[in-house]
Symmetry: C2
Subunit: 358 residues, 2 copies
C-alpha cells in the first residue's frame, strides 16, 4: 500500500496509482484528524471521494504517530494524552475516539488504536503495552459495533468497514504468540495487523517475530505488516506469510533522490549519471524509465526540480507495486521460494558492490 | 509559451503540456549553460530529446537573467561580465558565446543576446542599450550564420533554427520605432522579440509601447512579447498585435497557492474554501477542476503537499493556454474586439470585488 498520509500519496496522482496497478493505499487517522479534520472529510463524502481514489483504503489508527511524532505524551488505561506536532495543542486519544475518527474517514479497513513501544523494549514493558493493546482492542470493537448500529452524531449510517486488530509483543516470541491468540479470541477478524516491528529492532529479530506470527495467526486471514518496508523487507515478509505492507520509503526516498532498482538502491545524483543516456532501470516500464535518461533525472534532482522528485516517487512506487505483483505470480506458479532466493541474492549483491554503495 | 527554465516546466510533465494543447515552450540559455551545460545537452541529442518535449522550443538569450539574477556585472561593447548566481564564478557572455549556447541547445527559435535595462530608464540610458543591442544583433547574426555553415567544434552540423531580434527602447516611442526599423534592416527575420517591457514600467506605458511596436514592425511576422504575463496582459497584448508570450506566472503563482480563474485571481487558502465541494473554476476542464473540490485543493495547499502546487500549476497553465486558443478562435470569427472587451471587463470586475481581493 502506497502511503497517502494527508490524503495524498506525495507527488502522485490517484490516476497514476491506478495505472501502476496499486490495489490499496494507506492514510493516517492522526494526521487527518489534526488537519483538515475527519468530520470535515465525512461532510464532503468521505476520504475516497475527498482524495479521488476509488480503490480500497486502510487507515492507520494513529497509535504509531502518537508515540513517534507527538510530544509530552502520557499513557493511561483510558488513552493517551499528547501535544499535537503541528501546533502544540493538547489532545486526548482513546480507543473510542479513534474509532469515530476512522469511521468518519470511511476507510475500508480501520486499524485498532494500540500502545506502541520502542523496538528494543524489555519484556515487562512489552507485556504491559501488549496487554493494554488487547484491552483497547475490546473497547475498539465495542465502539466500532456501536457506531455501526447508531451511525454518526446525526444518526446517518456509516458504510461497510472492517476493523483489524494490531498484534504487539515486541521481540518476545511468547508475548507475540499470546497476543495473537488473545486478539483472535476477541472477534472474527477479516485480517490482522502485525505492529511494533521495524521500529529499531535488529532485522533477524524482526524475521524471527514474523515466523512466530506466521505460526500463531489464522492461515486464512490476511496479515498486514505495519510500516514495512524496503524491497528486501517485502520479499522477506512474503516468505514469512505476510500479505499486506505499507511504507513511506518509496515516496520519501524518491524526494531525497534515491531509487530502488532491480540492481539495488541507487543515489541518482552520482557523478557517473551526468552524461548517461540510458534509463535509470532498463528492466522498468514506469513513467520515468520509459521516457527519460539518467542524465536528465540527475539534472532534475541536483537542480531541486519538482519533476525530479515526482518521477522518482513514481518510479519507486511502481517498483514496489510491480515487485508484489511479481511475487504473487511466482506464488501462483509454485516458484516463489526459488525466485525470492535469487531476487534477494541479486539485490544484496548489487547493494554491497563498491560501485553501488558510493 | 509555458516556461521551462531548467528544461522542465516546473511540476508539469511534457505529456500533460501536450494534452493541454500548449504549442510551444520556452527555456533559458543562461540557466542551462550554468547547469547542466549546453554542451552536455547537445551531446545527449539536444534540448527536445533531453526533456522529452517534441514540440517547438524557444530559448531566451540570457540577456534578462544576466541583468536581473547575476551580480557584479559590467557591460562593455564586447559583452557582459558577471558572477553566476549559483556559485559566484566569473562568467563572460558575448553575442557570439550566446549563439553557440543556443545552437547547442537546439531550440527552434533562438533569441539574440541583448542589453536589458530597468523599465523606467531615461532616454539616454535607453538609447545606449538599444543601440548596443542592435550592434550585438549584427554580431549574433554573423555568428548564427557561421555556425550554420561550420557546425559545432567537431564539424557536426546544427539543425534548422531561427534567430529573432529583440527590439528595445524602454518607454520612449521614438527609440522603439527606430529600433524596430534598424532591427528589420539587419536581416529577413522569421519573427521579432519585444524586450524591455513588464520590467517595472507603468501598464499604460507598456500598452503605449505595444501600440508603437504594432505600427513599426512588419505585419506578416509574429511578434513575441518577452516575459509577459498575466491573463489580462495577454489579452491586452493580443489587442495590440502580439502573437507570442511567455511568463513564469502560471507555475510560480501555482506554487504559491494562487489560481487564475474565469472570475479573476483567487488565493486558494481562503477560509471560504474549507468545506466547499465545488470545483475551483466551474468553467474549467483541467485535471484539477474536473476531479477535485476546492476543499481538497485548500487542504493540499495549506498542508504544503506537492500535489497541491502541482494541480494549481496545471490549472494555471491550462487556463492561459486555453485563453489563447479562445482568443485565436474569436479572431478567426471576427469577434475578438467585442469578446476581449467583455473578457477584460469581467476579469477586472471580479478582481476588484471585495470578496475576491481578500
Amino acid at each position: 500500500m502506497p502511503v497517502g498520509t494527508l490524503a495524498t500519496v506525495k507527488a502522485i496522482d490517484p490516476a497514476e496509482l491506478r495505472t501502476m496497478r496499486a490495489q490499496m493505499i494507506l492514510s493516517n487517522a492522526y494526521h487527518l484528524h489534526l488537519r483538515p479534520g475527519d468530520a470535515l472529510i465525512r461532510s464532503l463524502g468521505g476520504l475516497h471521494r475527498f482524495m479521488g481514489w476509488d480503490g480500497p483504503i486502510l487507515t492507520d489508527s494513529g497509535g504509531f504517530q502518537v508515540f513517534s511524532l507527538a510530544s509530552l505524551r502520557s499513557v493511561s488505561e483510558e488513552g493517551v494524552e499528547f501535544k499535537s506536532h503541528l501546533d502544540g495543542s493538547r489532545r486526548h486519544f482513546t480507543p473510542e475516539l479513534v474509532m469515530r475518527i476512522e469511521r468518519n474517514l470511511g476507510a475500508d479497513v480501520m486499524m485498532q488504536f494500540d500502545h506502541v513501544i520502542p523496538g528494543q523494549s524489555d519484556e515487562t514493558t512489552a507485556r504491559d503495552a501488549s496487554e493494554r493493546s488487547i484491552r483497547w482492542l475490546e473497547r475498539c470493537r465495542a465502539e466500532f459495533e456501536k457506531l455501526d448500529r447508531d451511525g454518526d452524531e446525526e444518526g446517518k449510517p456509516y458504510g461497510a468497514q472492517a476493523l483489524f486488530p494490531v498484534v504487539q509483543g515486541g521481540i518476545h516470541p511468547s508475548l507475540r504468540r499470546e497476543a495473537a491468540l488473545r486478539a483472535a479470541a476477541v472477534g472474527d477478524w477479516v485480517g490482522f495487523g502485525i505492529g511494533g516491528l521495524s521500529v529499531g529492532e535488529a532485522k533477524p529479530d524482526m524475521y524471527a517475530m514474523l515466523e512466530t506470527m506466521d505460526e500463531s495467526l489464522p492461515r486464512d486471514r490476511p496479515r498486514y505488516l505495519m510500516g514495512v518496508g524496503f524491497p528486501e523487507d517485502l520479499i522477506e515478509g512474503v516468505r514469512r506469510g505476510v500479505d499486506l505492507f505499507d511504507c513511506v520509503a518509496p515516496t520519501r526516498m524518491g524526494r531525497n533522490g534515491t531509487a530502488f532498482t532491480s540492481n539495488g538502491r541507487v543515489n541518482v545524483k552520482r557523478a557517473e549519471f551526468r552524461a548517461d543516456p540510458r534509463p535509470l532501470d532498463e528492466n522498468c516500464g514506469c513513467p520515468l524509465c520509459s521516457r527519460f535518461s539518467r542524465a536528465y533525472l540527475r539534472h532534475l534532482v541536483t537542480s531541486d526540480e519538482i519533476m525530479g522528485l515526482r518521477l522518482l516517487s513514481l518510479h519507486n512506487v511502481h517498483f514496489l507495486v510491480t515487485l508484489m505483483h511479481d511475487a504473487r505470480a511466482q506464488i501462483r506458479a509454485g516458484e516463489f521460494d526459488r525466485w525470492s532466493h535469487e531476487w534477494l541474492e541479486r539485490y544484496h549483491a548489487a547493494n554491497t558492490a563498491p560501485s553501488r554503495t558510493r
